[in-house]
């Protein structure tokens, strides 16, 4: 079964990577790379992407003539999606375990971030 793991940043918490020391940043990036590599080696990784910061994000909707109407930018976003993984695993429990691992990524001073990861199951075919 497939799950999407979404890493959300809320408020002015610990994930303000721009203010981290070089060493902390390197440790964090190293962890994330290794994490993705291990998921891939398990044959569990379907996709993983980090997203650009919301500073340049726009919200788009269709106008009266279906033309794109854009809104934004939102430099003061309180909550935004940092990145996501899609994994294909045996059970929901395994997805939670993977999410917990991601949540414990090292932050400032090497302490686990404990950042919140939203786990959502990807829709699939019905059972026969």
């Amino acid at each position: 079964m497939k799950f999407m793991l979404m890493m959300h940043h809320r408020g002015q918490g610990a994930y303000a990577v721009s203010s981290w020391s070089q060493q902390d940043l390197a440790a964090h990036i190293g962890f994330m790379k290794d994490f993705a590599r291990r998921l891939a080696a398990n044959g569990e990784l379907v996709a993983a992407e980090g997203l650009a910061t919301p500073d340049q994000a726009k919200r788009v909707r269709a106008g009266p003539n279906r033309e794109p109407l854009t809104d934004g930018v939102f430099p003061e976003s309180k909550e935004f999606l940092v990145g996501f993984w899609i994994i294909d695993v045996e059970s929901p429990q395994r997805a939670y375990d993977v999410a917990a691992e991601a949540s414990a990524a090292p932050g400032p001073g090497g302490a686990p971030l404990g950042i919140e990861i939203e786990v959502r199951q990807v829709m699939s075919a019905p059972e026969v």
Binding site: A40, N42, G43, L45, M123, S124, P126, E127
Partner: protein, 423 residues
């Protein structure tokens, strides 16, 4: 698929089985097999198919294997460090591969090797499709909608697990086979379930896993002809697959059994499945697949929901519940009971099993269905909505939402004509 391609595909697991028996290693043997198949595809159209095609393939694959081992031994200068568990001297000494080719069919042991319980279900499925089914890694990846690299990793992990568990050089004894049969049947039935595709749309470029599962189960059946549960599983697959073209509409929407166009059901498959289940039952040892197949046969052979032999279906679920204590069986039984004794009795049964299935959308879906039949429109719509919120399948969710809307629209109508009893 050309006739040469299908001939090679049928031979592949038997050749691989023979190689694995000698070299007790999967990856190298699979590579050698691929080279031999390629050679055959190039040469046979010119030279004609050799009189002993299987022996030809084994001979060529064995040469490739020996070449590889020689090369590795030379590279490492150490005979004991090779990709195989068999000392290299011994391997190179095995010059004559005629004996290997003339002996029994090894593909059955290969299937048991790939379905061993030490593998996760996903790994066993992938390995079985690759090694026994002869699908490419890319085809398997597409079938499961994962990137090819992911599937390649899963396969290599699976081979490693098999290797660590140890590949026996001796074939399994009949008693060992019987003991390990349930895990093989489980993997085959999971492949079949994964093969669920709507009759149209997105799935055209995917390998048909349901057909693959049927093909593999057929060959298992011819290798173990007397096993009633193998017959039961094959029958269940045929009887379920017979309804494939009528269980979804033009845009992939689910059509429930009672609304399906029964003239579209595959009669040949139904006849074959029904005959299989009959002869399996006559052998005595009744198992879960046989019971499920017998229930499927009763549905398939009825000309309508009303004329279905629900009394017998209830009885069969009763026997099934004794060997399979799963909530799904109890749910299905409650629905069958409702067909015999009315929706109220079915709802009462669901009430009893409620605590086991709290929060399970399937319980809500069954309740919704029975509430609808009982004419409780408001409650039925609410239950359909709860079920829709709980499912992880898009076609199922769409069906349940649609059903909720249908009963809801019906409700004010019946209120207005209170004396008209719902059909």
């Amino acid at each position: 698929m050309t006739s040469l391609e299908s001939q090679l595909r049928a031979l592949a697991p038997r050749v691989l089985g023979a190689l694995v028996r000698r070299y007790r290693e999967l990856q190298g043997c699979e590579d050698a097999l691929q080279e031999a198949l390629l050679a055959a595809a190039q040469q046979w159209p010119r030279t004609g198919v050799p009189p002993e095609p299987r022996a030809w393939l084994i001979h060529v694959a064995n040469r490739k294997m020996v070449d590889r081992l020689r090369q590795e031994a030379a590279e490492r200068q150490r005979a004991e460090v090779v990709a195989s568990w068999v000392p290299v001297d011994e391997q190179l000494a095995l010059a004559a591969d005629e004996a290997l080719a003339l002996e029994r069919d090894d593909s059955l042991d290969l299937l048991f090797l790939c379905c061993q319980p030490s593998l996760t279900a996903a790994s066993a499925i992938a390995l079985t499709l690759r090694a026994v089914g002869g699908l490419t890694t890319a085809e398997i990846a597409r079938a499961f909608l994962v990137p090819e690299t992911t599937m390649a990793q899963r396969l290599s992990r699976a081979r490693q697990t098999v290797q660590e568990a140890g590949v026996a050089s001796e074939p399994l004894t009949p008693a060992e086979r019987r003991a390990r049969l349930p895990s093989v049947l489980r993997v085959l039935s999971l492949i079949f379930s994964e093969g669920w595709v709507p009759s149209s749309g997105e799935a055209v470029h995917r390998v048909d896993l349901a057909n693959e599962a049927i093909r593999l189960t057929r060959s298992l059946r011819s290798a173990m002809p007397g096993e009633p549960e193998v017959m039961g599983l094959l029958a269940l697959m045929l009887l379920t697959d017979a309804r494939r073209d009528s269980r979804t509409g033009p845009s992939g929407e689910l059509i429930p059994l009672d609304a399906q166009d029964r003239t579209k059901w595959n009669r040949l498959q139904i006849e074959e499945g029904a005959a299989l289940i009959e002869s399996a039952f006559s052998q005595g040892a009744v198992g879960r697949f046989q019971l499920q197949a017998a229930i499927a046969a009763l549905h398939d052979e009825a000309s309508s929901t009303e004329s279905t032999d629900w009394v017998q279906i209830v009885a069969l679920y009763g026997v099934l519940a004794r060997i399979d204590d799963s909530p799904m069986v109890a749910l299905s039984q409650a629905i069958a009971v409702a067909m015999v004794e009315g929706p109220r009795e079915g709802l009462r049964r669901l009430e009893e099993m409620g605590p086991r299935l709290v929060g399970d959308y399937r319980l809500e879906a069954a309740r919704a269905h029975l509430l609808e039949r009982a004419g409780e429109w408001v409650e039925a719509a609410a239950a359909y909505r709860r079920a829709a919120a709980g499912t992880t399948s898009v076609p199922e969710r769409d069906y349940l939402v649609l059903r909720a809307a249908l009963v809801e629209e019906r409700q004010p109508l019946t209120r207005r004509f209170a004396s008209t009893s719902p059909r």
